[in-house]
């Protein structure tokens, strides 16, 4: 019954939206929803954020630290770089290796240009704002950067997900960045808290979705 309502809803949405949007836009939205339904992107991105979170703070306090702490710092840098660079490939590999019976197989078109352009424009705006702030010699520049980083990460999450859970993660990330900007904590600690908080809620959200997804019964293909 639930599925029947879902199906009908999907159909009605697709039919009505076809009048206002191109089929590519509608299909991209369906594809995006499918891409996020297992929670894997959130799990990997959340883990990446958690790995990155303490880097700056650890870097500041590494002098005179025991050898084990230095090794942990080096391992963290290496893991962050590997995970950061292989994220899309890793998600695809896990799905094809372990989840293909549940998720099915899809081969994408070479590039989703619209999304890439929007993310590039957002990054350019962020960089330009930074240059402008430096040029204007704004007081407490690091605090402005922290607040802007929170807003930027929040906006990217909201844009990518376009669902309630992503909006919640986006709102918490943005609020964390802005609130931390008003504290007297050091910038290194603020960044660690920001990425730690953002990573943790992203990871938790992904894990909940993943567990729910794995509990769904596998239905045989055609």
């Amino acid at each position: 019954m639930h599925c029947a309502f879902d199906c009908e809803d999907n159909m009605n949405q697709s039919s009505s939206r076809l009048l206002e949007e191109t089929p590519e836009v509608i299909a991209s939205r369906l594809f995006q929803r499918a891409h996020l339904r297992d929670g894997l992107p959130e799990i990997f991105v959340g883990t990446f954020f958690l790995l990155v979170a303490p880097l700056d703070w650890m870097g500041q306090n590494i002098n005179g630290a025991p050898m084990a702490a230095k090794a942990a710092y080096a391992a963290n840098i290496l893991l962050s770089m590997i995970l950061g660079m292989s994220l899309p490939w890793l998600i695809k590999w896990v799905r094809r290796r372990f989840l293909v019976e549940r998720e099915g197989y899809v081969r994408l078109k070479s590039a989703k240009r619209q999304v890439t352009y929007i993310l590039l424009v957002a990054a350019a705006i962020f960089a330009l704002s930074l240059v402008a702030a430096l040029w204007l010699k704004l007081p407490n520049l690091d605090r402005w950067i922290l607040a802007a980083l929170g807003l930027y990460v929040g906006a990217v999450w909201a844009f990518i997900g376009q669902t309630l859970r992503f909006r919640i993660v986006a709102a918490i990330s943005a609020a964390t960045g802005i609130l931390l900007a008003f504290t007297a904590l050091s910038m290194q600690l603020c960044l660690a808290i920001f990425f730690g908080m953002s990573g943790l809620i992203t990871l938790l959200s992904g894990l909940v979705v993943f567990i729910r997804f794995m509990r769904l019964p596998i239905e045989a293909g055609e």
């Binding site: 076809l18 009048l19 081969r107």
Partner: protein, 98 residues
Amino acid sequence: MSAKIQRLAEIDRVIHEPGRLMIVALLAAVEEADFQYLRQTTGLTQGNLSAHLSKLDEAGYVAIEKTFRGKYPLTLCRLTERGKQVLDTYRKVIKAAL
């Protein structure tokens, strides 16, 4: 205006059905997808999806290929050039009329 409205009578009925429209719109965004992926993404039941794909295949809008990936059987579906043209025309006619 009446000419645009009258064009609605010529609309392709194969693609006009919401389930098939959803499948075609989804396939327009990817290179190819298998049966399971389409079922998960559209939310259609197995029987419904199978029936819709057969109709789209008969009309020449979707190409279906049965293959394997390791032990996993794949029913790969991809939108044909004819399918892309029909979807584009469908959208233009509806948009102009409504």
